[in-house]
């Protein structure tokens, strides 16, 4: 009997907070860090008699995010009421586009197990409002035994994009690459900052297994992953769990399971599944998007990070790994390109930004936007190193000095006592003469032939190198010192 093989079939649902100043349907601030229940109003609290009023910018953010996922924009979309009963949802229904979303049919490219590019199809992206946040603790802060939950509605009504993939993902690694690539592209589009630590991206995975004997396991929805690592571990765990059940001849139950990050397991959710009832939102007529509007927003789309990285590799010869790092952050890539525009060699500039600039930023916990050194200045350092006016070591010293002191290039060079182009010719001869005159006994030993192993000669060469602050060429120093002691 041939060995059974299993193919994971995984779909991913992602919620991303879209960037806007005010909420999706009211003018309250989207600042969720404010004191609890201060950014609320009758609309986002679902008080009777209020009407939702759609935020123009959020519609455009949805379009931008859609473009980032290679989706098409629908000329007509509609909002629905998704009704369920839960304390984080004050209206008793969530306004969501679900069936007639603003964008559909896109894709994100990832690498499969053999390293080949494959497309993960994006079914659609739709707009919806977020719910409030629940805090569970007893009045003394204990979690166990608390009999009350506390609700903060600052988040209620903030704009979300829900992105639903087709079940094209075949492994945990593909899932992680999918969400990371998607995140990077959405950030580039300007639709969202997608700050993970602020909970701006949440994901659920639908995992099922296809067996080579024709059996197909039920779909299990895994929730509660809030980091890329958690997503990867949860999917790996679920694949193993379902495979084991099917190998033993059992049946995988269709259910919702929660990922427990501390224990590294998924467990069946005991929360009762709601009846989610949908009706068309009667307070929001259809959203019409003209071709002219689509074109206007499309014109704002920047070059996407993977396209940009490929351009660095193909046009400038930047190594792929370096290009990927540079394009991971749009602002860093902008900085690098400004260096190149200012005349720096692209490959060298890429390495400088990748190693030196990122090192300083990491040490300081800064972003490139906070980095005081202008890209034109870094370009000048790179050029001078290229021209041989500064050695690589000197270039790095100058860079560090400028970064540490916010000084100009000339100030740094002068403060470090560097003579550009190095010490040579008469300047070098002057130093050698001085060193020899200060060490008459050493000269005597050499001239009397006692320095058979050349140690004394090397000693003098060392002193000269020290005097030149390492700015002379060692070979030139060796020859000139040997000549001077004859």
């Amino acid at each position: 009997m041939p060995e059974l093989t299993f193919t994971p079939v995984i779909g991913i649902e992602i919620h991303i907070r879209l960037k806007s100043d005010s909420k999706l349907f009211c003018s309250c601030s989207t600042n969720t860090d404010a004191a609890p229940n201060t950014n609320i109003c009758p609309v986002c609290m679902g008080l009777p008699g209020t009407l939702p009023h759609l935020n123009h910018r959020v519609v455009e953010q949805g379009m931008l995010a859609g473009f980032a996922l290679n989706c098409g924009i629908r000329p007509k979309s509609l909002f629905f009421r998704k009704s369920y009963f839960y304390p984080d949802l004050p209206k008793g229904h969530q306004i969501s586009q679900c069936d007639l979303p603003i964008t559909t049919s896109g894709y994100i490219e990832v690498h499969d197990a053999e390293g080949k590019l494959k497309k993960i199809r994006v079914h659609h992206l739709h707009l919806e409002e977020d719910v409030g946040s629940l805090h569970h603790s007893a009045s003394d802060g204990r979690l166990e035994g608390a009999d009350t939950s506390y609700v903060d509605y600052n988040r209620s009504g903030t704009p979300l994009a829900e992105i639903v993939s087709e079940p094209d993902v075949a492994s945990a690694a593909e899932a992680v690459e999918y969400v990371m690539t998607l995140r990077r592209r959405v950030i580039y589009s300007g639709a969202s900052d997608v700050e993970l630590e602020k909970g701006m991206m949440r994901f659920d995975a639908n995992v099922s297994m296809k067996c080579s004997d024709g059996r197909w396991g039920h779909k299990v929805e895994v929730k509660n992953m809030n980091s890329f690592k958690a997503l990867e571990r949860a999917i790996e765990y679920e694949i193993k769990r379902q495979k084991k059940i099917m190998l033993q001849g059992g049946e995988v139950m269709q259910e919702t399971r929660h990922w427990n990050d501390a224990k590294g397991v998924t467990s069946a959710s005991r929360v009762k599944e709601f009846y989610r009832k949908f009706i068309v939102e009667p307070d929001l007529p259809p959203l019409f998007i003209s071709q002219e509007w689509i074109d206007r927003v499309a014109a704002r789309m920047p070059e996407m990070p993977d396209v940009r990285a490929n351009r660095y590799v193909n046009e400038w010869g930047v190594p792929q790994e370096v290009a990927d790092v540079l394009t991971d952050d749009k602002n860093l890539a902008d900085y690098f390109e400004a260096c190149v525009k200012a005349g720096a060699n692209p490959v060298r500039a890429a390495h400088w930004v990748r190693t030196e600039v990122l090192r300083v930023l990491n040490e300081r916990g800064q972003k490139i936007q906070d980095f005081a050194m202008r890209p034109e200045v870094l370009a000048e350092v790179v050029k001078r190193v290229d021209d041989g006016k500064l050695s690589t070591t000197q270039g790095k010293e100058v860079f560090d000095h400028m970064a540490a002191n916010n000084s100009s290039l000339d100030e740094a060079i002068s403060a470090l006592g560097i003579t550009e182009g190095g010490v040579a010719g008469s300047a070098l001869n002057e130093i050698i003469a001085r060193v020899i005159s200060e060490n008459p006994d050493v000269l005597e030993e050499i001239r009397s032939g006692k320095d058979k192993k050349g140690k004394k000669l090397k000693f003098l060469q060392g002193l000269v190198m020290k005097e030149t602050k390492g700015q002379a060429k060692p070979q030139e120093v060796a020859e000139a010192v040997a000549e001077a002691v004859k």
Partner: protein, 97 residues
């Protein structure tokens, strides 16, 4: 399509309604009469007809992304009988326990 009295009772509970047996029987009959009427639409060929949602052909009005803080958030908070500091209080809910 017909609903059983159990299904109607489920819907009532979702709506936070407690029905007596008599009320449940009445509601089931009423809803099923309504569904019978809807069933008659099946006789029509509606394949190419777009679902009707709005009587008037108006577009969704849009507003600028401008923050206007609501002046009296305290009043909203105190609409509730269950408040602790600036939080609303609800019975304990722990998801995924």
């Amino acid at each position: 399509m017909k609903l059983t009295s159990e299904q109607v009772n489920d819907i009532a509970l979702e709506s936070r309604l407690l029905l007596t047996e008599q009320e449940l029987a009445g509601a089931t009959r009423y809803i099923n009469n309504f569904l019978d009427m809807l069933d008659r639409f099946k006789e029509l060929d509606l394949k190419d007809v777009e679902p009707f949602s709005f009587a008037e052909a108006i577009a969704c009005p849009l507003r600028d992304d401008k923050v206007i803080a609501f002046a009296d958030t305290e009043a909203i908070l105190h609409e509730s009988a269950h408040v602790d500091g600036s939080y609303f209080k609800v019975p304990r809910i722990m998801e995924g326990e």
